[in-house]
Amino acid sequence: MNCEMFEKILCDLDRADVLPSAVREAALAHAETCAPCGLLMTESESLDMHLRTLSISARIQSPPPRVESALLEEFREFHEEQRRGRRRWQLAALGVAAAAALAVSYFLLGHFVPGRNPMKDAQDTSTHSGAPTTAPIASTARDSNESAHAQEASGTNTPKRLAPVANPSAGQETAAEQGTAFIPLPYADSAAEIEGGEVVRVILSPAALEAMGLRSSDFSSSGDVSADLLVDEAGTPEAIRLVAQSDKDSVPN
């Protein structure tokens, strides 16, 4: 052990488990034989004693009770705020979940109602009690005018095809029905001249069809036939469209 080494470990001499016991003993032995190092050691021990006195004098120092009160108040407020925040998040999450569940339910009910047959529903709607249903066709007639003029200009003599009207319950083909184009009735004016009017869903007997100039032999069905009549403002049928509904009626030829 030399003086330089002694100086290096001087502040560790008073600490337990910092220096190996052999090093500690060597240092103490050196301090006994070396006067300057002995003085350093005495001063260090004196400093330790002074610091211990200061430490002991400060031991009873502690913050006043008001600090603890303020902290506990803060602790309560903080956790209350956290609880409120958590509750808000839970409510928001619950709301989102409920909205999602509603959306899914709505989607599922709209598409997969048990025991509901959309084809049959459409059929039921169209044949309900044989009562005619009506829908305005003003725009259809106007469209037809343009079509008729085009046909006249081209000199063709094909049957005039009238566009279906926008009413889903009359004049417009649903997924469950098939229909022909509108065929002008023999006594009717040109479809191009029709202004306004309605499409009327009717059920016609073969006799009624023949009365309109249509042959019942043209239809594979021998019974009554569903048809849409294009009726002008005066109530006169101008054109007819035959409608077959799913498997019940035969498809027009």
């Binding site: 502040c11 002074h50 004098s57 400060a58 031991r59 009873i60 913050p63 600090v67 603890e68 956290q82």
Partner: protein, 191 residues
């Protein structure tokens, strides 16, 4: 809910995090004296030490999740926060000046005999006049009795740095105590 006195700081902190007020109270009572003394030794002013102590535990309430038990003790974590607050105050208003010549009566009331008072006053002044890095090392290792490892964790520096700082700090203290004459106030010694 009653808390066992031997509950660990980590366990108490977990309970406090869950909103257990008693756990927090026990945690505070266990750690606040050391934090307060550290602040008092560092700034020499009881009002500032009080504020710093309060700020340290406020930070614990709000940021307790930042404490990682694998990186050190809760005490070290709290000393680290206290140190940061003291530095902020130092930078902010330069109020952390070395200790005044006379100390607050409240801090020396319990020192009854003149020799002890003299010793405490001299040493306190000497410690207070050390550079900040040295001062905090002396306070943690010599006054608070921390090991080098604990002090290193609190000061966020290597153990070797703590040892070398302590060595220099003690040398400076010996020098200061050797040259400094005792400060004895007439009222304190009963003259």
């Amino acid at each position: 809910m009653s808390q066992p006195k031997d509950a660990t700081d980590d366990g108490l902190l977990r309970r406090a995090l869950a909103g257990d007020e008693d756990a927090f109270r026990l945690l505070y009572r266990r750690n606040c004296p050391a934090i307060y003394r550290f602040a008092l030794h560092m700034c020499g002013n009881s009002a500032t030490a009080e504020d710093v102590t309060q700020e340290v535990f406020m930070a614990l309430i709000r940021n307790a999740r930042n404490f990682d038990p694998t990186r050190g003790t809760l005490g070290g974590f709290l000393f680290g926060i206290a140190r940061n607050h003291l530095r902020k105050r130092w930078e902010k208003d330069q109020r952390l000046v070395p200790l005044p010549e006379t100390f607050e009566e409240s801090q020396i009331d319990h020192v009854t005999d003149a020799a002890s008072f003299e010793t405490v006053a001299r040493v306190r002044h000497a410690v207070g006049s050390l550079p900040e890095d040295y001062r905090e090392t002396v306070v943690l290792c010599d006054l608070e009795g921390m090991s080098y490892e604990e002090a290193a964790a609190a000061l966020k520096c290597p153990v070797g740095t703590v040892r070398s700082r302590l060595h220099r700090a003690r040398a400076l203290l010996v020098e200061k105590l050797r040259e400094r004459r005792p400060v004895i106030r007439a009222s304190a010694v009963g003259e």
